[in-house]
């Protein structure tokens, strides 16, 4: 478990972060509010007139108003000038180019002293803008015609003046345009730069920079999704999301770029991006709510492809903005219709099926609604001081998809946690199962061991103790057996039993310890004879296979060998030795008795003892051999160091 900061600390970090943001906001707005209201002048009254001109011309650097016609009409700013029959200054009525003059008088108004700035929210005209103060040209804009971002860029003109210059008396604005378009002008502000900078920057930021930032952020998140898709090719959601971000970015580029508006590829992109956006959103919605909506999909894709192809600049079958053809509004109407249809169809399909689908449908609906003010502004239905909210469709899309991603991320974390928890549980269950299996195996092993041990002891009792006791009973029943003899038989039985018990003692695979134990047991028997036991043993390596059953075989083999010497020879000396040989160890028991014919003994039925030794030796993969002569017998037991299988 990782270290986690305490909840108190977490709250402190949260409060600090939020407070930091709020403090910056307050500081920024205080900066603006600090300026007194007398530092600026709001100009809302103007006069205007339209003059027919032969063509687009460069505005002169100085101007004398006296040369202008005096057909001024009054207007309240902000306002859109009506399409008016121009004053035919010269005979150029067929040129269709007009100049609109707007005159703002500041004479008699209380003017702040020092350097001044002229600020206006928007000048809506397709041609060059020229601003004259007291007859001097102070600013020229849009010399090459309107730029894509012109409508979203506020006017900001610094009036260079000396401190002792007289205050400006009159501002003239010259606007060139065709006679087909209308001119719109927001109200103007004249004042010190410090007083107006706040308004200017706020406008600039909210209308251009914030949407641009969000648009870029959206694109970045799209790139992130693309990389997710690279790793998870089967999840096309991520690819669609990247596509959406890219299309959205391209579709909103015209809000920020300062390129002249021409009937070119950029215009094509800008116009068609809306269609693509709606199509991608539709495909995305389909993935979310899981309904095919075949017909709608066909129509949406068909219309999008058709319009995209027909508006290609080389073909130009359908016109697009900035064309003034009546078909342009039609194209936009199709966009609106398609967006509304996709939004409704998506919303209905996702209603009970996908919360994410509902969110995307709402996003599309909001975006469509945000497009309405744009349309209204473009068509001069509302005041030219209004906001182009279409720039924020990207922000809405980004926000909604942000919520989607947030939900997925949180769900994924929860799922992982649940999976981990259930994994731990499963592991625990498996461990318990395994433990039970082990328990059973152990029990089975134990039962097997007990069973093997019982079998071994039964076999030994049957062959040794049992038969000795039976022969003792027979002898007693037959009668004529001395008590000494019976006692001897019983003592033999007890010796047998002791060896059986010794075989179960922990000898730790030490053959020498086993032989030592045997000697310890036989010692009382040998003490009563005149035989000397010479113990000439060497250290031996451990025999890993030496277990109770094999230990008993070895004990019996050696016991039998010594018993034979005591019983059948008249030896006075027994020599017990051990030695290490090739791949084994060897136990030798030599006596100085009279010896016997080994082959004959092995052939005769009387040689049961020898056969028993052979059988027992085989049982432990050992070999027994005898070398006998008139000077004595040497018995050898060879045992392997390692056995292949000894179970």
């Amino acid at each position: 478990m990782r270290h986690r900061p305490s909840s108190l600390f977490s709250y402190a970090v949260f409060v600090f972060s939020v407070a930091l943001l709020i403090a910056v906001g307050i500081w920024y707005s205080e900066e603006d509010a600090a300026q007194p209201s007398t530092a600026s002048l709001h100009l809302t009254q103007a006069d205007w007139q339209v003059v027919e001109v032969p063509g687009f011309t460069t505005p002169p650097s100085t101007l004398d108003r006296k040369n202008l016609p005096s057909a001024w009409q009054h207007i309240m700013l902000p306002g859109t000038l009506p399409k008016a029959m121009a004053q035919p200054a010269n005979a150029h009525a067929d040129s269709h180019i007009q100049v609109t003059w707007i005159k703002l008088s500041t004479q008699g108004l209380a003017m702040p002293s020092g350097a001044l700035v002229l600020y206006g929210i928007r000048v809506k005209v397709e041609g060059t803008i020229a601003v004259y103060v007291d007859g001097q040209l102070v600013r020229r804009e849009q010399q090459q015609g309107q730029l894509w971002n012109s409508l979203f860029t506020p006017l900001w003109v610094v009036l260079e003046r000396d401190a002792n210059d007289a205050p400006p008396r009159e501002i003239l604005i010259r606007l060139e345009h065709t006679d087909a378009s209308r001119v719109g002008l927001s109200s103007l502000w004249l004042g010190r730069a410090e007083a107006l900078r706040g308004r200017y920057y706020l406008r600039q930021w909210l209308q251009r920079e914030l949407p641009a930032t969000l648009s870029a952020a959206f694109l970045l998140v799209g790139v992130f999704a693309l990389f997710v898709w690279f790793k998870r090719r089967h999840e096309t959601d991520y690819l669609l999301f990247f596509n959406l971000a890219a299309v959205s970015f391209v579709g909103h580029l015209h809000y920020y770029v300062g390129l002249p508006i021409l009937n070119d590829w950029f215009a094509w992109l800008t116009a068609n991006a809306l269609f693509w956006l709606i199509m991608v959103l539709h495909l995305f919605l389909r993935q979310l709510h899981g309904r095919a909506l075949t017909w709608l999909t066909c129509v949406v894709v068909g219309v999008t492809v058709l319009i995209s192809v027909l508006t290609l600049p080389p073909l130009a079958i359908l016109p697009i903005f900035p064309s003034t053809s009546v078909l342009v509004p039609l194209v936009y109407a199709i966009v609106m219709l398609m967006a509304t249809t996709v939004c409704l169809a998506g919303g209905i399909s996702a209603w009970h099926r996908s919360k994410e689908g509902r969110l995307v449908a709402i996003c599309l609906g909001l975006s469509t609604l945000l497009g309405v003010p744009d349309w209204l502004l473009h068509n001069n239905v509302i005041s030219p001081e209004g906001w182009f909210l279409g720039a924020y469709t990207n922000a809405v899309t980004f926000g909604i998809f942000g919520v989607l991603m947030y939900r997925r991320y949180i769900n994924a974390i929860n799922e992982v946690e649940q999976v981990n928890a259930s994994l731990a549980q499963r592991l625990q269950a498996r461990e318990a199962e395994l433990e039970i299996i082990h328990q059973r195996l152990r029990e089975a092993g134990q039962r097997q061991t007990i069973s093997d041990e019982r079998q071994r002891l039964m076999q030994d009792m049957h062959d040794g103790l049992g038969s000795s006791l039976i022969s003792a009973i027979r002898s007693v029943e037959r009668g004529g057996v001395s008590e000494l003899k019976v006692s001897q038989i019983l003592k033999d039985c007890l010796d047998d039993l002791k060896l059986t018990i010794d075989s179960m003692e922990p000898v730790e695979a030490d053959l020498l310890l086993l032989l030592a134990t045997l000697r310890f047991r036989l010692e009382p028997r040998l003490e009563s004879t005149d035989i000397t036991l010479l113990w000439e043993v060497q250290e031996l390596p451990t025999l890993a296979w030496l277990e109770p059953s094999s230990a008993l075989h070895i004990l019996r083999i050696v016991q039998e060998s010594i018993a034979n010497i005591l019983r059948h020879t008249r030896a006075s000396e027994i020599k017990v030795g051990t030695a290490l040989t090739v791949a084994g160890v060897q136990v030798t028991i030599a006596d100085n008795g009279q010896g016997f014919d080994v082959d004959k003994a092995l052939g005769a039925s009387a040689g049961r003892g020898l056969h028993n030794q052979q059988r027992r030796a085989q049982a432990v993969d050992g070999i027994v051999s005898w070398q006998s002569g008139p000077t004595g017998t040497c018995f050898t037991l060879w045992l392997p160091l390692a056995r292949q299988t000894h179970l």
Binding site: L497, E505, E508, R519, E523
Partner: protein, 231 residues
């Protein structure tokens, strides 16, 4: 029997439930000129009562008593008759029985099927400070001391234990045990180590008492709970 005249007879007490063996043993002890049978008990309770009386030199105890374990009697005797050599009588001299008895405080064991002469020898040897041992027991004792050696001890408690010389085997003692596990008799070992056979047997006695040290505190505790010792 060629015994040197002893100034004081060996006082022998017996705790044995099997009447046959008890009688045989009593007869053997009574027949020995240098021994004197001072007490006979057939049960654990009788044995414990006997321990309240004057101490004997050798106490023969059977482990399987009808009313409990002879181990209790051995532990009580260690405390009440500290000068007495305790001998456990066993059928087979098997590791489990003998080791338990030695740890409780016994100094030797007597195989029940031994010949009378051998029994007398064993009792005499024990009374004079010697102890018998078998190869299997020797191996077990060695293993027990190896457990206490520093190489296998990890904690400070065990280190403290081995630092006590009373719980460590000397080189000679270890040598004796090694010879026994390889099957050599006390006489052979004495020859190999240039000692008297009796010294070899006293070595064994010393080893046994070292083995007993570790379980002594336990013995005191048990004796208290049995009410054999005052607080």
């Amino acid at each position: 029997m060629p015994t040197s005249p002893e100034p004081l007879p060996i006082h022998v007490a017996i705790v044995e439930d099997a009447p046959d063996f008890r009688d045989a043993l009593s007869r053997v002890v009574q027949a020995a000129p240098d021994m004197h049978l001072t007490g006979l008990a057939g049960t654990r309770v009788q044995g414990l009562t006997m321990l309240q009386g004057p101490p004997a030199d050798v106490l023969l105890v059977d482990l399987g008593l009808p009313d409990g374990s002879g181990i209790d009697v051995i532990r009580a005797a260690v405390l009440l008759w500290p000068s007495c050599s305790i001998m456990v009588s066993t059928n087979f001299g098997d590791e489990t029985h003998v080791m338990r008895s030695i740890e409780a405080g016994a100094a030797g064991y007597l195989l029940k099927d031994s010949s009378p002469a051998r029994m007398i020898d064993e009792i005499r040897s024990l009374a004079s400070g010697g102890s018998p041992i078998s190869p299997i027991i020797a191996r077990q004792v060695l293993a027990r001391f190896r457990q206490n050696s520093p190489s296998s001890a990890g904690n400070s408690d065990a280190l403290k234990k081995v630092a006590d010389p009373a719980t460590l085997l000397s080189v000679r003692e270890k040598e004796v045990l090694d010879f026994i596990t390889r099957g050599f008799t006390a006489q052979e070992i004495a020859k190999l180590m240039q000692l008297s056979p009796f010294t070899v047997r006293t070595f064994v006695r010393r080893i046994y008492s070292k083995l007993k040290v570790t379980s002594k505190t336990e013995a005191i505790y048990e004796a208290r709970t049995l009410g054999l010792l005052g607080d």
